[in-house]
C-alpha cells in the first residue's frame, strides 16, 4: 500500500476569533484536482498552509509520506511542491528568463566558492540552467524574447510565466491559485490545454483553485468544494455540479459562468 502523493488531514486554521478552515481533509494521488467555493471559503488559506506560508493550528499535511507542517516555504519547494499566486507575484523588474532561473534556486548544487572561483562546474551548471529555462518558457507557450522584462509582458503571458517559474524546480505537485483569472474564455481554454499537456508529459499532479466553472468542469478529474472553511462536497465534476449543497453555497450559480472576482 503506497502512501498517497499528497495527504492533508484535519487541517484547521483560526485567525483570532475567525475559523478560516475547519477539519479539512484533502488527498491527491495523481491528475488534476480543483478546489472551488465562494469567496472567503478558505481556499487560498489552504494553499498557504500547504506551502508553508501559514502554520496550521490542527491537522497534518504530508507529501510523498513526508510531513510538511513546520517546514519553511523554501524547504517545501525543495521537496517538490510549487505554487503560483492569486495576484501575480512575478519579480517585475527581472526578465522572464531570470524569473524562471530564480525558480530553479532549490535545485542548484553550486556553492558560494564555485561562484566566486568560476570553476568549470559553474559555467556548465549555468549553461544547463539557462538552456532548461529557455525550454521551459517555450513549453508554456512564451515565444517572445526571454530577456523581456516581466512587467512589460501582456497579462496572459505573465500568468504563463508564473507557471514556468513554478515548474522550474521540477515539482511533482503544482498548486495554481486562480490561473485563469482575468483571462478570456479562449485564453483560459488554451491554458487548460497547456495544463493537461504538462500533466501528461511531466507526470505532474495539479491542484487548482478556480472560479471559472467551465474550466473546472472541463479539466478536473475531481472537484472539492469549500464553504466557510469546511468541505461540503467532493467528487467528479458532474456530481459536484449537481450537488444541492454546492448549488446553495453558490446561490445557484454553479451552472452559470462566474465572473472572476477582483482581488480580495
Amino acid at each position: 500500500m503506497t502512501t498517497a502523493l499528497f495527504e492533508a488531514r484535519g487541517v484547521t486554521k483560526k485567525f483570532g476569533g475567525l475559523t478560516a478552515l475547519r477539519q479539512v481533509d484533502f488527498v491527491l494521488e495523481r491528475g488534476i484536482a480543483s478546489i472551488i467555493g465562494p469567496n472567503g471559503a478558505g481556499k487560498t488559506t489552504l494553499f498557504n498552509i500547504f506551502t508553508g506560508l501559514y502554520a496550521a493550528d490542527e491537522g497534518g499535511v504530508a507529501f510523498q509520506g513526508r510531513p510538511l507542517l513546520g517546514l519553511r516555504p523554501d524547504q517545501i519547494t525543495a521537496l517538490g511542491v510549487c505554487r503560483t499566486f492569486q495576484n501575480i507575484r512575478l519579480f517585475a523588474n527581472m526578465t522572464a528568463l531570470e524569473n524562471v532561473l530564480v525558480g530553479m534556486h532549490a535545485r542548484i548544487g553550486l556553492r558560494v566558492w564555485d561562484v566566486l572561483a568560476r570553476a568549470p562546474r559553474f559555467h556548465q551548471t549555468e549553461a544547463a540552467l539557462q538552456a532548461r529555462a529557455v525550454a521551459l518558457l517555450e513549453r508554456v507557450g512564451l515565444r517572445g524574447d526571454p530577456n523581456a522584462v516581466a512587467r512589460n509582458l501582456p497579462y496572459g503571458d505573465q500568468r504563463r510565466l508564473e507557471i514556468a517559474r513554478a515548474l522550474a524546480a521540477g515539482p511533482a505537485l503544482l498548486l495554481l491559485d486562480e490561473p485563469t483569472a482575468g483571462m478570456t474564455q479562449g485564453e483560459a481554454g488554451e491554458l487548460m490545454g497547456l495544463l493537461r499537456a504538462l500533466v501528461a508529459d511531466l507526470g505532474l499532479a495539479l491542484i487548482l483553485i478556480e472560479h471559472n466553472m467551465r474550466v473546472v468542469m472541463e479539466v478536473s478529474d475531481r472537484v472539492t468544494v469549500l464553504d466557510h472553511g469546511e468541505k461540503i462536497a467532493e467528487g467528479p465534476p458532474r456530481e459536484v455540479q449537481a450537488d444541492p449543497r454546492v448549488i446553495e453555497a453558490y446561490l445557484g450559480t454553479a451552472a452559470r459562468q462566474r465572473r472572476p472576482r477582483a482581488a480580495r
Partner: protein, 398 residues
C-alpha cells in the same frame, strides 16, 4: 576614431594640467572627469581597459609625485569605493537598509590596530606588536571577524521589516562606537577615545614610498572587490538577492532560503569593510572611535544612493564623487574662503574678513550628504547609473 582620440586626449591633457598646476583642484577634477569619460565613451573595450589601466597604474602615481595630496585623495577614494561596493551588496542587491555599516569597518580596523601595535601588550603582557609581515594574514583575519560580526548582527534582525531593520542596524553601529569609546576598562581593549597608535605598516618592497604602496594595495583590493561583486551578481546568488528585493514572499515560495541569503549578503558586505578596515588602520598608523561614527555610515550610504543601488559602476562613481566633494571641494572652498578673507576681499561692500570664524565649509559634510539623499530620492532614486542599464547592455551584446 575621433572618440578614441578624444578619450586619449582628455586624459593626456588633464594629466599635463595637473603636472603644470599642482595646486589646482580644478585640474585634478578634470583628470578624474577624463577617467569617467574613458569609462563611458563608446570606444573599443581594449582601449578602455588600456586607458584606465594606464591612468590608474602609471599616471596617478606620477601625479602623486607632483602633489602628494592627490595620491592621498585617490587612496581614500579607493577605500570608500570598496566600502560602497560592500554596502551596495547589502542595500543595493539584497535590499536591506543597513545604517550601521561602519561598524564592520571599525571591527576590521581595530583587529589589526590591537595586535599590530604595542597596545596588545596591555592585554596580554608582552610579545606585541606582531611582526609587520602579519599584516597580510590580518587582511584575512579582518575579513573573517567582520563577516562574523555581520552574521551575529544578521541572525536576530533579519526577520524585521525594512524600516525597523534600518533602525536596529543604526543602533548596532552606535553600540560599536560606544564600545570603542569605552572598552578601556576593566580590560583595555580599545584604549577608548585616545585611540591606538603606532600601528605597524607592512614591509614595502624596493624603494617605493608608503603612500604609493598603499595606493597600489588599495587599488588591488578594489579590483578584487569589484570582481567578487560581479561574480556574485551574475549568479544564482545575485538573482536570489534581487528576487528577495523584489518580492520576499514570492522568492521564498520559489525556493530561495531567506535567512541564509540575507546572512550571506550581510557577511559579504561586512567582509569588504573588514578588509579595508585593516588597510585603513595600517595606513593611518593611528585610529580612534572618531573615524567610525554614524556620519561615516551615512556617507557610504550616500555614495551608494548617488551612484545607483545595486550598480557596481554606480558605487565606484558615487564613492568618488562624495569623497572628492568632502576631501577636495569642501576643503578647497574652505581654503579659498580663507585666502579671500586674508586678502581683504569685499562682496557687496561687506568685507569677507568679517564673516564669522565658525563658518567653515569643510565642516558641512552632513549638509552635503543630506542634500544628496533627499534630492536623489525625489528626483532620481535609481541613481546616476541605474542597474537595468547593465542588463540592457548585456542583452544588446548577445
Amino acid at each position: 576614431m575621433t572618440r578614441a582620440a578624444l578619450a586619449i586626449g582628455l586624459i593626456a591633457a588633464s594629466a599635463w594640467a595637473v603636472a603644470t598646476f599642482p595646486r589646482s583642484v580644478l585640474a585634478f577634477l578634470l583628470f578624474q572627469g577624463s577617467l569617467l569619460h574613458a569609462y563611458l565613451a563608446p570606444i573599443p573595450r581594449w582601449l578602455r581597459v588600456a586607458l584606465l589601466a594606464a591612468a590608474l597604474l602609471v599616471l596617478m602615481p606620477v601625479i602623486g609625485a607632483y602633489n602628494g595630496y592627490y595620491l592621498e585623495v585617490a587612496t581614500q577614494v579607493g577605500i570608500f569605493v570598496a566600502l560602497a561596493l560592500g554596502l551596495n551588496i547589502v542595500v543595493g542587491l539584497a535590499g536591506l537598509l543597513d545604517l550601521g555599516y561602519v561598524a564592520f569597518f571599525a571591527v576590521g580596523a581595530y583587529s589589526w590596530a590591537i595586535f599590530g601595535s604595542p597596545h596588545a601588550n596591555l592585554i596580554f603582557g608582552g610579545g606585541f606588536p606582531l611582526a609587520a609581515g602579519w599584516f597580510w594574514a590580518f587582511l584575512v583575519v579582518g575579513l573573517l571577524v567582520a563577516a562574523g560580526a555581520g552574521v551575529l548582527l544578521g541572525l536576530p534582525v533579519l526577520r524585521l521589516r525594512g524600516d525597523y531593520l534600518a533602525i536596529v542596524t543604526l543602533g548596532f553601529g552606535e553600540v560599536i562606537r560606544v564600545l570603542a569609546n569605552n572598552l578601556d576598562k576593566p580590560i583595555n581593549i580599545t584604549n577608548g577615545p585616545k585611540g591606538i597608535t603606532p600601528i605597524s605598516r607592512p614591509p614595502v618592497p624596493f624603494d617605493v614610498s608608503y603612500a604609493e604602496a598603499f595606493y597600489f594595495l588599495v587599488l588591488a583590493i578594489v579590483g578584487v572587490v569589484i570582481l567578487v561583486n560581479r561574480r556574485l551578481e551574475d549568479s544564482h546568488v545575485g538573482r536570489a538577492w534581487e528576487a528577495i528585493r523584489e518580492d520576499e514572499l514570492a522568492a521564498q515560495a520559489m525556493g530561495v532560503p531567506l535567512v541564509r541569503s540575507k546572512l550571506l549578503a550581510f557577511a559579504c558586505g561586512a567582509s569588504f569593510a573588514g578588509v579595508m578596515g585593516v588597510v585603513f588602520s595600517a595606513k593611518q598608523v593611528f585610529i580612534n572611535p572618531e573615524s567610525f561614527t554614524f556620519l561615516e555610515s551615512i556617507g557610504v550610504l550616500a555614495m551608494v544612493i548617488l551612484g545607483g543601488m545595486g550598480s557596481i559602476p554606480g558605487a565606484v562613481v558615487g564613492a568618488t564623487v562624495v569623497t572628492v566633494l568632502n576631501l577636495q571641494v569642501l576643503k578647497g572652498l574652505s581654503l579659498w574662503l580663507n585666502e579671500l578673507k586674508n586678502a581683504g576681499v569685499t562682496v557687496f561692500g561687506l568685507s569677507l574678513a568679517d564673516l564669522p570664524t565658525q563658518l567653515e565649509p569643510a565642516k558641512y559634510e552632513r549638509m552635503i550628504f543630506g542634500m544628496i539623499l533627499v534630492l536623489m530620492m525625489i528626483f532620481r532614486p535609481q541613481g546616476i547609473f541605474p542597474v537595468r542599464r547593465r542588463a540592457r547592455e548585456l542583452a544588446g551584446k548577445s
